[in-house]
Symmetry: C2
Subunit: 273 residues, 2 copies
Amino acid sequence: MQRLARQWQRGGKKVVFVPTMGFLHRGHASLMARARKLAGRKGRVVVSVYVNPTQFGPNEDFAKYPRDVKGDQRLCRAAGVDVFFAPDDTEMYPADFSTAVQEENLSRGMEGAARPGHFRGMTTVVAKLFNAVLPTAAVFGAKDFQQAAVIRRMTRDLNFPVKIVVAPTQREADGLALSSRNKYLSTAQREQAAVLRRAIGRAQKAVARRPVAAAQLRRQTALLIAAQPEARLDYVEFFDPETLEPVKTVTHGAQMALAVFVGKTRLIDNEAL
Amino acid sequence: MQRLARQWQRGGKKVVFVPTMGFLHRGHASLMARARKLAGRKGRVVVSVYVNPTQFGPNEDFAKYPRDVKGDQRLCRAAGVDVFFAPDDTEMYPADFSTAVQEENLSRGMEGAARPGHFRGMTTVVAKLFNAVLPTAAVFGAKDFQQAAVIRRMTRDLNFPVKIVVAPTQREADGLALSSRNKYLSTAQREQAAVLRRAIGRAQKAVARRPVAAAQLRRQTALLIAAQPEARLDYVEFFDPETLEPVKTVTHGAQMALAVFVGKTRLIDNEAL
């Protein structure tokens, strides 16, 4: 991969990179379409498929995370991707691997608090993939808002010569954000999972009228989630989209993010209010 | 710097990088000569001069670390360096900087134990400088053996497309390793400072005859250092040069490293035994 990337550099080619964990769906396809557009006809688009073990906690779903290499390759081919890059664990993490990249401010709350070690594993693997693919730009989905913010910061702080592009979340008809993890849901759970987007819609409406206390929006969200028999709120936060600092009074332009267990499946979503 | 580096990449140029903290001496000049040779006539040599605050402890010599930009530029010009790169603190560490690169195995003992946070600051700034200069190779001095090992590991672990070259320590006539910190020494201290290399020479002779217990070599070294009125041993270690694991019995090929305070000045040295 790196040898090829070096050749592209000599050719002065734009290289646009979409890192993924595979089990690709329409959400990923939209990132690839964006990448294809950014790269232009002369540029190159690389998609990596790697389920990175270091960003999963010990009690998380690493082992059962869904995989479908054949399907992923088909989707990439259809999306006009130039290189399908699927490194394996032994080349990514040799036995004496001992280095970590860590963002230490934006990564503390929300997903960072709920999933200790998650962002550390994520920034480490993204730094590695950036160096393997040597892209001029990389496209991430907006579904994990905090992830995009952490990657943007890491990229700036370490001076990676990579432009970070964040593309909008793709949704099902009932508003459920596309995710490989939606596959885990039973039919009943799948219906209840629409509650995440519905909670965001409620908050958007409330804030459109007047500023609202975060505590009130939090209570309202908790009630809405609790009304779904298999749903359990993990967290909901209202925060400044730049600093990720929680706000006490939620005004237009604040960001809302939440994580909800539906059965054993943990789903996340976010939007600007 | 990065814009220039990108142009060089398109030209397929070799770019050889020598990161330094300035106050350049003959030791640095030997690194530049090595870089010049590696780059060839068509390649480029970049020297950075940056006294990186994050690799100094709160009670260390950051503020008084010697600086001489004019002298450094003269030396670089004489050495055939193409670019003298001297970034400042505000572009290296903006106020909301929040990312660290950390090696967590090789960096634990010796300098890592004696100087908490030192290697974390060092690997972070080297990662940043690699991304700013985008070199094909980088040259480091052998005087800090552990530093070279940590950088080699970080470079491999994060897949930086950079070849790490380690060039031999340059010494004064009495064996003292060249260092910008030698400037701190009084005349009397300067004479006593030769004890570091002398201690290594003693150990080399002992090990050349037969394997020796590390404990015995440690005692012998401590006595030799203690005989110098202004010298105080910080640590001495005997270890495997690949893993940096301490050895109990020191045989041919083991590495010896030591740190000694001479007055308030902390000096380090190392050699293969």
